[in-house]
Symmetry: C2
Subunit: 447 residues, 2 copies
């Protein structure tokens, strides 16, 4: 078949919307931010749209301090395991991708919770592996200073390594359940992992059998040098942020090119940049929708958001003037990629502080696409067909209507063009993404 | 009204059954141990029976080593947060009580997950606060030695303390959601907690608003001196194990008597001993059912279970002979109460090792009640009406039929005798248990 490769789509739930002022939008159901029925309806909408997965970001603070600006933003974040598990009970096909940091968690707990979610959902779990970078987060975990960028990656690498050992600690056929012979499991197929590393010392085995997918799908986001190398070796999905086709193509080529040395084929990793779609019945209506969202940003909140992205306090600079001189990339500890992206954008387009916060407060550094459903589809198609993306993480400006509009108006166009599935191909997330079932490292050793 | 006090009932899900050999029982759905539909059906059965709550135990090991005996037992344990959250989406009234240890967890994560579960379930979460005592568990968390008993309680007390601070960090009316004025929350009603203690140093606030119940219901199980004092001060439900009416009455009186000095009324804490009901259409059928369960215990598994409860290797002693000399209570680190209970039982009834493992492998130290549905109801009524219990945590021998039998045959008798509710009284677990809504410590300070 000429065109049997289909794009992969994630429905990135940031509630009540990806735009920083989304919660003020009349259509955003801000009052439902803690209501299960609201999330259930959206999950079922995404499943009706045949999305590969729901994607949840995470963080361990209520905001960036007790400022007025902070109180103008959403300070509540639903916990990913709790939400995804509840949604597993009211959906059947869609994947459930949760962000969990390797910086302030224990591998045993993380391995176990994902294994449990993967079993209960019949193979629909995915783990977005991140590191935590904020000082504020450190102070919620009895730590004075957060780990330096390079140490965070060391720890992350060891963390993922030991989690996969724990998932493998039960071989695929270890559970026997022979009632007559009184054999619940085969003890020769359940293994201690006896991991002793720089960060962790973990005996195992896990107290739950191997996940339904072998491993839940591994998602990563980092785009720094260390992050790219880790992703090329271990990631199965990359969630990333690029503004231009050229940047995205360069990244795509770079990452896929690094995989061979780890014995992996380029198809074993799906690159899915985030996109922020602003849809209108006409191009003009889409522009109006965007302008209306921008008008909802309180000035203090916009400046505070930009300050936090750049790790520089901008509150004393004229909002309609240019950015002050910024620190060099080497001086930045954490979220280096976003820092560079925003700095480059300001320089490239010569933007004021206000213009810049308006630009980043929607897509937060991700690609913004505006227009009619046809135009939205065209922009996705362009990247998909030009080796810039294997799919996209869709970031609706506000919920639930931003998602509903995408499912109702954009998905059918992608399906008509044979760019997106009509039905789920497999029964697990791994199968729908076209990823292979991972070999168990303990089984492999004995072959 | 003469008899308006009703007993409280928990449905203790230990899957596929509370009896150590339950998984071999022909009626136990052992093959469904990872199947959400199986748990969903049982949760809905418990809710049909108007149980106050589903109760889940927990632990962080796959068993007690790589022995044959271990492979004869259930080595898989569903993770409480993941399971309870999934069940919250398919039930409406029943409480969701999960065990989470204070020894190997972080207060911020625990506070947040319970808050999220409490919100999504509309006020049905409960936290069974325990400490971890096993060496094996320590080795799954990069620790060489587990904490001594007294230190575990120190840490537990500080842990609960900081978790309640985090739950209170958003006052009840902190969330405003004023779209016009751009006020998501009132910054004067969201508080850092700035906790600095021996074990934890946590800034806060939490990144989710105060739980629907103020606090999820606090359950405790420890019956040691330190555990009793902590419970009298902070617990709202006690899950405990007693064999005789006299012991249970003494404990009931002891605990309730300790509450006044903390400014609490005896009604603010519900004492719910575990009971293991073996039901038959006749007394003889119940006895046969019990004998059949006992016949399913592999000798090695029985000895291993008893060894682990007593922390003494019994495998070299004749199984039909008496227990060897045991260490004194002071030498035992962890689960002291269960140790004493089993030792006392062996001495009181002069039991052999085999008889003893048969006795403890069902109820594991809890009260075993056998007989017709009428006789089961009588035994519950006796304790309930004689100040030995405010209710019971029901531990069916095997699932789902052990639970189904209780709901179908015992609950109607309790209802007929006006000992148990016909309908849920309130909309939250706290309301159904007759517990008051906790005052927010930050709000209280400003009055």
């Amino acid at each position: 078949m000429a065109n049997d490769k289909k794009m992969k789509l994630g429905a990135f739930f940031m509630i009540p919307g990806h735009h920083v002022a989304a919660w003020r939008h009349p259509k955003a159901e801000t009052h439902n931010i803690l209501n299960l029925n609201f999330y259930k309806k959206m999950a079922q909408t995404a499943e009706r749209g045949k999305f590969d997965m729901i994607f949840l970001a995470d963080g361990y603070t209520a905001g960036h301090g007790h400022s007025l600006a902070n109180a103008q933003s959403v300070g509540i974040r639903m916990e990913p395991f709790i939400l995804l598990s509840a949604l597993s009970a009211v959906t059947e096909h869609i994947g459930l991708a949760g962000t969990v940091s390797t910086t302030y968690n224990e591998p045993f707990h993380v391995a176990r919770k994902f294994a449990a979610l993967d079993h209960l959902s019949n193979g629909r779990a995915a783990w977005n592996v991140v590191t935590s970078s904020g000082e504020v987060e450190a102070r919620n975990f009895s730590k004075d200073h957060h780990l330096l960028h390079s140490k965070r990656y060391d720890r992350a690498e060891e963390f993922v390594n030991v989690v996969t050992k724990l998932w493998d600690s039960w071989e695929d056929d270890a559970v026997i359940l022979d009632k007559e012979e009184a054999q619940f499991y085969d003890p020769s197929k359940v293994h201690t992992v006896n991991h002793k590393g720089e960060w962790f010392s973990i005996e195992g085995p896990l107290n739950i059998s191997r996940p339904a997918q072998g491993y839940p799908v591994i998602v990563q986001a980092g785009s720094s040098e260390a992050g790219k190398e880790l992703a090329a070796r271990t990631a199965e999905v990359i969630f990333t942020a690029w503004q231009t086709l050229e940047e995205a193509q360069a990244f795509y080529k770079d990452i896929k090119g690094r995989m061979e040395k780890y014995g992996r084929s380029p198809d074993e990793l799906k690159i899915m940049p985030g996109v922020f779609p602003v849809i209108g019945r006409t191009k003009e209506e889409a522009e109006e929708n965007k302008a209306f969202l921008e008008s909802l940003i309180p000035e203090e909140a916009g400046v505070a958001l930009l300050s936090s992205h750049l790790n520089v306090d901008l509150s004393s600079y004229p909002v309609d003037g240019p950015l002050p001189d910024l620190p060099s990339l080497e001086e930045v500890n954490g979220a280096k990629t976003r820092f560079k992206l925003i700095k480059d954008l300001a320089e490239r387009e010569n933007l004021t502080i206000r213009q810049l916060y308006q630009r980043v407060s929607g897509a937060r550094g991700h690609r913004e696409i505006k227009g009619t459903p046809e135009q939205i589809a065209n922009q996705l198609q362009e990247w998909f067909e030009n080796e810039a993306a294997d799919g996209f993480n869709i970031m609706p400006p506000y919920f639930p209507d931003g998602l509903e509009d995408f499912v109702q108006h954009v998905i059918p166009i992608l399906q008509e063009r044979k760019l997106f599935r009509e039905e789920y191909e497999g029964s697990t997330l791994r199968e729908n993404l076209g990823l292979s079932y991972p070999v168990n490292q303990f089984t492999r050793q004995s072959v």
